[in-house]
Symmetry: C2
Subunit: 307 residues, 2 copies
């Protein structure tokens, strides 16, 4: 009986934590010979805390070093985002919904990446496809993951499949989807009482292209003014975080989920920002109306603009 840790990315968000919990549960049902343990690569954020507490689901085990362990990666496929020690671990599977990153294996594995709005959608689909019953708790947290990652279906990453799977999950969960979505999102959108470092690190992702490192964090708010009053403090901290990770560009996406727009703040390579968004930055900022998705609207143009 092998122990396999199912784990999401560093600076975990709700989709990453819920996918780890639900996929570990799923694997445990279709393979009773091995033990599947949900794990996390960092502290959970206030939104995830709200979701797990509401449905009495335990917080996954913290894994600080994965060296020598068996891993299934969910919700990421970039070495820059993976738990420490993963380069010396055995990666058995990858289930994700992001661009294809830089993880290589020496033997064939199951690698399923699908361009849908959340990894929760894919995990829920596995349950339905294999006809594994979902408990009310599991269906509810998967629904929360979908609503969180798709910003209640407002993000351009949202697909018909996300909506269909959410409806099917809600046949079990029995919630008011719109209202539940706002409850989930507002558990995170309050920035009061958080330090600049907490804001940045609560959802920070690292990327690399041909040796060029960059990082993009995203904070979702329902109003701009509170964060704007702290812009200097946040930029200063962003600079320190980027420098500590050897990044040539560090980006802070301040996304207003009501307005459906993003103020993109950055430190570092201004030329890449100019080229990526075809806008002239003012005070380390470009305003991006209609932009809500890091993986679809911010990372691809930056990735293309590098080199």
């Amino acid at each position: 009986m092998a122990k396999v840790y199912v784990i999401g990315h560093k600076s975990p968000d709700t989709d990453s934590i819920v996918s780890a919990i639900a996929y570990a549960n799923f694997k445990g049902k279709i393979d009773v010979d091995d033990e599947y343990i949900p794990a996390r690569a960092g502290e959970i954020n206030s939104e995830t805390k709200y979701v797990l507490e509401r449905f009495n689901v335990p917080v996954p085990e913290l894994l600080t070093n994965a060296e020598g362990k068996n891993l299934i990666l969910v919700d990421h496929n970039e070495m820059g985002q993976v738990v420490d020690g993963a380069d010396k671990a055995r990666i058995f599977e990858i289930i994700d919904h992001h661009k294809i990153g830089d993880i290589q294996t020496s033997a064939p594995i199951l690698f399923h990446a699908e361009p849908v709005g959340s990894t929760g959608t894919i995990v829920a689909d596995f349950y339905f496809y294999h006809k594994i019953p979902l408990s009310k708790e599991m269906a509810s947290i998967l629904l929360a993951a979908i609503l969180s990652d798709t910003v209640i279906f407002k993000s351009p990453t949202t697909t018909e499949k996300d909506k269909q799977i959410a409806e099917k999950l809600n046949e079990i969960a029995g919630l008011d989807i719109e209202k539940f979505g706002m409850e989930v999102k507002s558990a995170k959108s309050d920035i009061k009482g958080k330090t600049a470092n907490e804001l940045i690190m609560s959802d920070f992702k690292e990327f690399e292209k041909d040796g060029y490192k960059y990082g993009v964090c995203q904070v979702e708010v329902v109003r701009y003014d509170e964060a704007e009053a702290r812009k200097d403090e946040i930029l200063k901290e962003l600079e320190a975080v980027g420098a500590s990770k050897g990044e040539r560009l560090a980006v802070f996406m301040l996304t207003n989920i009501i307005d459906e727009s993003t103020k993109l703040w950055f430190v570092g390579d201004e030329e890449v920002i100019r080229k990526a968004f075809k806008k002239e930055p003012v005070n380390n900022e470009v305003f991006l109306p209609g932009v809500m998705s890091r993986k679809l609207q911010v990372v691809p143009p930056i990735h293309e603009a590098i080199g």
Copy 2:
């Protein structure tokens, strides 16, 4: 209406060609807004020729440069094996059953790699899952692809899923599976009348790890003696091929499908071979009883032994 080319690896084998044909056909049925064209990245081998002619299926279009085109990659996910110009193409999907290679994208795509015996198994499963009817021709060539890649279920890459899917395909194809498998395999195992270069290039795959390039080709035979009589000639040609591709190691797998063993011939980095197979090479050769699979039994130990 976009044109999308569905294409397998260079030095295509039967699984690569059939998967391109069958997946293009499948995509055309579930997405009538776009045009899916099966393509190939090189000449077909004698086994594939036999299979396509037997079922009157046209040979896919030859694509020599994919620059600017829309692509779906089947049966590979390594830049060293992809059609020329793919670095300047748009990759929409990847369907494969090999180790995870070095292809990166700037946006999310469907990437499905599954550790089964052939890509044909995965493609057939898509038809069954989406309830798309399979013609007798399509079922027969998919069955041929599975039998070819799994060496009639004798390769250690074979999974229960390959056998189940083969059975389901044969409900439509109506063939004697064992007999059909031998007919398919023997269409390729005759090395008479082939030059050393033809033998090597008929199924040659290139790999890279941290800048270290290596190549592995495989020739399946029903007896060793004919190829052994030409060992010097083959090694000399292997050296030329490896050098022309900048490889530090070039490997020729002479696999006996009756004995279920492989004579591994190589030129270049002897130390990696020694470390990978824990055997002392004699005359540029190690004998590997029970070894039939490049991707499961030869590439992983070499990949691990490098660096």
